[in-house]
């Protein structure tokens, strides 16, 4: 660059360089986001538009007939079907129970690991292992653990006096709880991780001031710890709520929706509708209903997320 001999030439050269650079900034922006945008359009927007169309038709992917326009019939069918509300109720119960338990357990774990001790980083990482595992593999080995005759779950709780022959996955009320137990096992560490981050960010002087004022431990927890951790806890809860609502892998691996339809979450029902009955039109309609619910929930989530980013 410094090889040009005359100063005027250099000025001109610099000017064109600047011009070129400014032009290329816009070009680079386009170039850089292009692959992402194209992939989004091809893999998300187009398929979603296509399935919106299909949701108004009667169509089966395995039949050799073109889609037949039926208007809102699929939606009406689904929304007036009592079974549909059953699936939403199951999903809601599942989400509520597992997220509530995860919050409590995760918070407890975080409080335990809050003060560093020798080996605490190792313990923390060990506790985090479950959430990194493949849910379907997790479901499979919990199925072995839950086995009524030879599973270790019954064996271990046998010591507490509970009937040691409980068929956790075969009982229509217990099956959902069994899935909740596995979900809590897997995802409490997630809540713990976020709460730990929140705890480490609380300025120590708040506690010092409280100690000087002789505030009780409970008071400190309620008035300092809890409010300070709240934003991160909220994110953890929203994150887990969305995930619980989507839940497919664990339920599919543990119970497959059974016994009967006791653990048939919306995702499982949708899967059966689309890939079991091959009722593609109706499945698309149900998918759209789920979509609307999820978008509503994730909007909430994004807002909380942005607040946390700014704060």
């Amino acid at each position: 660059m410094s090889t040009t001999s005359s100063t005027t030439a250099q000025v001109v050269n610099n000017r064109t360089a600047v011009a070129r650079r400014q032009m290329s900034d816009a070009a680079i922006t386009r170039l850089f986001i292009l692959p992402t945008i194209i992939l989004l359009i091809v893999m998300n927007i187009f398929p979603l538009i296509y399935s919106l169309f299909l949701s108004f038709t009667e169509y089966s992917v395995i039949a050799n007939a073109p889609p037949v326009w039926v208007g809102l019939e699929n939606y009406v069918d689904i929304l007036t079907d009592t079974r549909f509300w059953h699936h939403f109720a199951v999903t809601g119960r599942y989400a509520l129970a597992s997220v509530a338990l995860q919050t409590v357990v995760g918070f407890g774990l975080a409080m335990l690991l809050r003060n560093k001790f020798k080996g605490s980083p190792l313990i923390t990482t060990l506790i985090l292992v479950p959430m990194m595992l493949s849910p379907i593999v997790v479901a499979k080995f919990w199925e072995l653990i839950f086995s009524p005759s030879y599973g270790i779950f019954n064996y271990l709780i046998g010591f507490t006096g509970i009937n040691p022959n409980t068929a956790w996955l075969g009982d229509s009320t217990l099956a959902l709880w069994a899935v909740v137990i596995v979900d809590v096992w897997m995802w409490s560490p997630f809540v713990m991780l976020l709460v730990l981050a929140g705890l480490s960010a609380i300025p120590e002087y708040l506690y010092e001031a409280a100690s000087i004022d002789r505030a009780s431990g409970w008071f400190q927890f309620r008035r300092i710890t809890l409010p300070q951790v709240m934003p991160l806890l909220l994110i953890a809860v929203l994150f887990r709520t969305i995930e619980a609502f989507k839940q497919f892998d664990l339920v599919s691996g543990l119970t497959g929706g059974g016994p009967g339809d006791a653990t048939q979450t919306v995702s499982i029902r949708l899967y059966q509708l689309a890939f079991g009955d091959f009722d593609t039109g109706k499945a698309s309609a149900l998918a759209y209903i789920v979509l609307v619910v999820i978008i509503a929930v994730s909007n909430l989530y994004i807002r909380a997320l942005n607040r946390a980013r700014e704060g």
Binding site: T29, G119, L126, W142, I152, A201, F245, L270, S284, L305
Partner: protein
């Protein structure tokens, strides 16, 4: 020209979210708090132990024989055997009594043959599992490569330039991750059937790339946001073009972020089950949907399932330890950072 830049990263204490504890709490010096910490440590260790029982149990089961795997009461002490791994990796056939005697008389059998012979079976070939594991590897690696590459580019553009409707676009990108897999899969399934991508490696790579892209754009944007703009501006003043500045200044600074994103994307596609279940059947089937299908003649082959799970989980556990500093950031899409 020479003044540009491999200047060291700024001290971490400048980063947001980093807190230095300048004070020592008076009440921590006493005996009671020390005992409290010790009690908490002990409880934490016990809980960690309890939480790992399922993983530990699966690890044990992988080395159990068929009767040991389903023994009542469950047994901790047993003769370890590789039977589960052999069942996982081979296809076998039950022998008749006459055949069994004939086979037992032979002396050209290797240890795996001997092992299956104990169950009255003979190995008739390799199972699908090694191929499915290879499929998992190919699809995860390729999709990770593409999603991180495209992700870095998009993240840089989103981080540094004015893009109309940027926030909406970013939200839209993230929202792809919020949808249940089944919802996304129905139209993709139809599209793939139509254009012949169903059950192909390319189809799965394409899907996982777009699935991971939303994650990598968000995570990488967070990392790139943290690189001071001044570095590039200095490079631009020194006559670098934007592309050169990106390559020689931004990328080296973002290496940690890129590495963390890569590993997360790898884990996501490695673990993914729902898409693979619905969009592959034979040719491109990955390991996760196959593990539940390892069924033996007469009852579930728990040892084989456990062996498959173990082979599948070990890389993830190792990676979890390698990633532990970035876990928080990764699982929250880069929303929350710690110093």
């Amino acid at each position: 020209m020479a003044t540009v830049t491999s200047s060291p990263a700024p001290p971490t204490s400048n980063q947001p979210g980093y807190y230095v504890n300048y004070s020592t709490r008076v009440d921590k010096v006493g005996l009671r708090p020390r005992i409290a910490t010790m009690v908490r440590a002990i409880i934490a260790v016990i809980i960690a132990f309890i939480m790992l029982i399922p993983v530990f149990w699966m690890g044990l089961t992988a080395f159990k024989s068929r009767p040991d795997a389903v023994s009542v009461p469950p047994t901790l002490l047993f003769q370890p055997t590789l039977e589960g791994f052999v069942s996982l990796l081979t296809d076998r056939r039950q022998l008749t009594a006459a055949e069994l005697q004939e086979y037992q008389a032979r002396d050209d059998l290797n240890w795996a043959d001997e092992l299956t012979l104990l169950r009255g079976q003979v190995i008739i070939g390799q199972s699908q599992f090694p191929r499915q594991l290879l499929n998992s590897l190919i699809i995860s690696a390729a999709s990770t490569f593409f999603s991180v590459t495209f992700g870095v580019l998009a993240a840089y553009a989103f981080s540094r330039f004015q893009i109309p409707g940027k926030d909406d676009l970013l939200f839209f990108i993230l929202s792809q991750r919020m949808l249940p897999a089944v919802v996304v899969t129905i139209p993709i399934f139809l599209m793939y059937k139509e254009i012949g991508l169903h059950d192909t490696h390319f189809g799965m790579i394409l899907l996982y790339t777009s699935f991971n892209l939303s994650f990598s754009v968000w995570l990488l944007k967070g990392f790139i946001d943290e690189i001071p703009r001044e570095y590039e501006e200095a490079a631009l003043v020194d006559g670098y073009t934007r592309l050169q500045a990106f390559r020689k200044v931004v990328l080296p600074q973002a290496v940690t972020g890129i590495a963390a994103t890569t590993v997360f994307a790898l884990i996501f596609s490695w673990n993914e089950y729902a898409f693979a279940l619905m969009l592959t059947s034979n040719n491109a089937r990955t390991a996760p949907p196959s593990i539940p299908e390892v069924l033996g003649t007469g009852g579930i082959e728990w040892a084989a399932i456990a062996a498959g799970s173990l082979a599948f989980l070990i890389p993830v556990v190792i990676v979890t330890f390698a990633l532990r500093k970035h876990l928080l950031r990764g699982v929250t899409f880069g929303a929350i950072r710690k110093g």
